[in-house]
Symmetry: C2
Subunit: 124 residues, 2 copies
DNA sequence: CATAATATCGTACATTTGTACAAGCTGTCA
DNA sequence: TGACAGCTTGTACAAATGTACGATATTATG
């Protein structure tokens, strides 16, 4: 079930889309509230971003009362796959190992986590 | 030894900067040749990107004959740290675990790699 | 030394991105 | 049912991004 090719996501759009996934269904308000404290952007801005996400096909909405309730129209896996792929290409020429290494060294990953990962890697 | 706050890198700039690191010292030509086959952009475009990287402080250059030889002015670690951090924030709300998981499941990581990572994680 | 070849520089420009105001709907509550 | 609060829509706009042409400078070459 291969997905259609969707237009690229801008960084901010990605951020908003993540929140939509996290909330499952969300109004503009909901998204605003869920924004990390460090990253406060205006209601109107979030609106525009959601509009653009909809135009690009990443979310849809349904009307509930006077509010629009947005929900993702694509599986996060799909977007993650592309995003990680692009990121890896750009910063590491596509090789995932250096990224893993970086995360292992600096990202608070502990031995237990790695054990779990090992199981995952083994399974597939 | 904390680094100055450098302006943000655009995706394309990041890509070019990576090649400069990889080549250590590089002319515009060198960078062009090193571009992945899939991603051919014009000489002039690479030039502009290098110019912008220099203006932003990420690279410097020295003249050799008629050619400019560019070289990185910042340690890759620094840029990687910021890039990975931003990426993580945007796509995973800052949590590195899901990314590790994704890489373990889909990125061609094998048990041996994981062993190495474990050692790294343990060391720090 | 004149010229061809090769680089760089200045400049340009269409898009995309981030951000937001103002005006117009639409339920809701007194 | 009329006014209000809350939403959406349309529109705007500066800055960043991706891409590149044309003019100019410099080196090597015959």
């Amino acid at each position: 079930m291969t997905q259609k090719k969707l237009p690229a996501l801008s960084p901010s759009e990605t951020e908003i889309l993540r929140l939509v996934w996290q909330l499952d269904k969300a109004t503009v308000q909901d998204v605003c509230n869920k924004l990390p404290a460090k990253r406060k952007i205006a209601y109107a801005t979030v609106q525009t971003l959601l509009r653009r996400l909809e135009k690009k096909g990443y979310v849809k909405h349904r009307i509930r009362g006077k509010a629009h309730v947005f929900f993702a129209a694509v599986k996060s896996e799909h977007v993650i796959k592309r995003s990680v792929g692009d990121f890896l290409d750009r910063l590491f020429g596509g090789d995932p190992i250096p990224l893993m290494q970086y995360l292992a060294e600096h990202g608070k990953i502990n031995a237990g986590d790695i054990e779990k990962l090992k199981r995952l890697a083994g399974k597939k």
